[in-house]
């Protein structure tokens, strides 16, 4: 657990640095998501081989909110999919670290996302394909994650993107086609570009909605590893973990402010934020 905490702090600092070097990008969501990705990649949840990134039996992780790519790129680099030094090329001409991910442009990047909502449908298509490839999965009824030995699909969703209608088309598809190899993880940071998600669209009660759409639903604190592990341990598939998170997590003076969804970092803000994240690392 100590190691996870250390990695989580390092991830945050690398995200901040790459976004500052890029001169643009989405800080708030990248930082709200980072602990979830750290748990998945370094907490023994995901099955993957960084040196054999397209290993057929790997789990597939689809990042539907493509704007949080800096979090994914950072965790993939730390996991050994590519050099950490590549993070400096984020959003630069000629770099495979596009502003929003493109499928297979980099080892570990499974899907093309960036227009919100699409990743959920793509994830459902991948899950359906895996059911065709590994038909034995159909024998399980609402299995837990670890019961599925064949590849599983993990799809990250942001709360703002639930406003897209096609997301709900995809949930209907997941129930109709009994995709018992897919897990959705909702990064519920309650912010989006122009305000607080809960104010912009009245989406609650989400748990009831998800359950009505045939998904098992669990809650977790998206910044607490024990809480996330507990949810991953108990969720049944197809299911969704509602992870309550904090926008700009780790940078106290920016936390929970929707204005930081996509605002470029000034040098002053960057240095102040870096100091806080560096201090957290030094405190270990």
């Amino acid at each position: 657990m100590q190691e996870l905490k250390r990695l989580a702090k390092r991830t945050r600092l690398l995200i901040l640095e790459s976004l500052f070097q890029a001169g643009s990008g989405h800080l708030a969501g990248s930082l709200s998501l980072s602990d979830i990705l750290v748990t998945l990649y370094f907490g023994g949840i995901l099955r993957y081989l960084p040196k054999n990134p397209w290993w057929e039996r790997r789990d597939r992780l689809i990042l539907s909110p493509g704007h949080t790519a800096p979090a994914l790129y950072t965790v993939l680099a730390l996991a050994g999919f590519f050099e950490i030094s590549m993070l400096k090329s984020l959003r630069k001409l000629g770099s495979p670290l596009e502003g929003h991910p493109i499928a297979r442009s980099l080892p570990g990047v499974e899907a093309t996302t960036g227009s919100l909502g699409q990743g959920i449908g793509v994830a459902c298509g991948i899950a359906k394909a895996l059911l065709l490839k590994y038909p034995e999965v159909a024998n399980f009824k609402n299995p837990k994650l670890k019961e599925i030995k064949s590849p599983r699909v993990f799809c990250i969703i942001s709360d703002g993107e639930l406003q897209e209608g096609s997301v709900w088309e995809a949930f209907m598809f997941s129930k109709t086609h009994q995709l018992n190899n897919i897990l959705f993880i909702l990064d519920k940071n309650d912010i989006q570009n122009s305000g607080y998600t809960s104010a912009i669209s009245k989406m609650e009660p989400l748990e009831k909605k998800f359950m009505a759409f045939g998904l098992d639903c669990r809650f977790a604190n998206g910044h607490n590893f024990e809480s996330l592990f507990h949810a991953f341990e108990n969720i049944r598939l197809p299911g969704i973990i509602i992870a309550k998170t904090t926008a700009c997590k780790g940078i106290g003076f920016l936390e929970n402010k929707y204005e930081w969804h996509a605002k470029p970092l000034t040098e002053e803000i960057f240095l102040k934020a870096k100091e806080e994240l560096s201090k957290a690392i030094a405190d270990d």
Partner: protein
């Protein structure tokens, strides 16, 4: 004297969607990676036989086309070859975002088999008569666009699209069409149907029969020697054939059952403008209007896409 260029005077009529059925009979047996998706239109798109025979490879997506395209991209990511069979009216316009991101930027190996393209949909009216699909999809880099003219060409186009890697859009008419043969479909290649010296007539899709009839009448009655070139592949264009013919005749007429704006004719005009200055150009298409209910032949006449309209355009060009 026989009034035939292709050896046969009267072609039998066949529904082009039969070509989908025939292609799937082959692909069902031969290509296990092919899966078929539809949005509640398996019967109308003639994929229902495949659905019956290979239920595990038919994926019903319901009336949720946007998700269907995303699902198809996911299946393609895993090595399947998804054929999405649906109406043209519901795919390029409604799913443009998914097509652009997944098939365009993401290069998902998805084949869009869109039926009911053009005015020939008939009585269902403007909402169902897709005329903007070529313009919409031509703008997306990397999407290959084919408009077959007959059932057998539809079959060949689907088989070719499955064999080749990359996203395809195949636009298929609803009405029965003369089974003009042989067309010898080759992806990306134009087919010279009749050599001529005065006008180059480039036609794509369902209007081939009207263009052929007009070419014959021009030749036998008006003594105008039209070069008839059938162009099922709209993107990428067979530029060499276009230029060679245009340079020879100096006059170009394009024929398509789609909006003029952004259409097949516009693509050809762009090629001509780039390489040739002094070519007379005219086109048969729908000019900035929607369709309406009616019989296919009536609509072709009303919107000036039929043999008479093509003949008039030919006469004007040589005038």
């Amino acid at each position: 004297m026989t009034r035939s260029f292709l050896g046969i005077e009267n072609f039998s009529y066949k529904n082009p969607r039969e070509g989908i059925k025939e292609a799937l009979e082959i692909l069902g047996k031969r290509e296990p990676k092919v899966v078929v998706l539809s949005g509640d239109l398996a019967n109308s798109t003639k994929v229902d036989e495949f659905k019956k025979k290979y239920p595990e490879r038919y994926i019903e997506c319901g009336i949720a086309e946007q998700n269907m395209i995303a699902v198809a991209a996911g299946l393609a990511a895993e090595g399947f070859i998804p054929l999405v069979a649906d109406f043209a009216a519901f795919v390029p316009p409604r799913c443009l975002d998914q097509i652009r991101l997944q098939l365009g930027i993401g290069r998902a190996n998805v084949k869009l088999i869109s039926t009911h393209a053009g005015l020939n949909v008939g009585a269902d009216g403007a909402s169902h008569q897709m005329l903007e699909d070529i313009a919409i999809l031509k703008a997306i880099p990397g999407i290959n666009i084919i408009a077959p003219a007959t059932a057998s060409e539809t079959k060949e186009a689907i088989l070719a699209a499955v064999k080749l890697k990359g996203p395809f859009y195949i636009r298929i008419a609803r009405a029965d069409l003369p089974e003009i043969a042989p067309l010898d479909f080759q992806f990306g290649k134009a087919k010279l149907l009749k050599e001529g010296s005065e006008v180059s007539l480039f036609v794509t899709g369902a209007l081939l029969s009207e263009a052929l009839a007009a070419t014959k009448e021009a030749f036998f009655d008006l003594k105008i020697d039209v070069e008839l070139i059938h162009m099922p592949t709209i993107k990428p264009l067979d530029e060499v054939t276009i230029l060679n013919s245009a340079r020879k005749t100096g006059r170009v007429l394009t024929v398509e059952e789609a909006q003029a704006s952004g259409g097949f004719g516009e693509s050809i005009l762009t090629v001509l403008a780039r390489f040739e200055e002094k070519i007379k150009f005219s086109r048969i298409a729908v000019f900035d209007s929607f369709g309406t209910s009616g019989e296919p032949k009536e609509l072709w006449h009303h919107f000036r896409l039929d043999k008479e309209a093509i003949l008039e355009a030919i006469e004007e060009l040589v005038d």
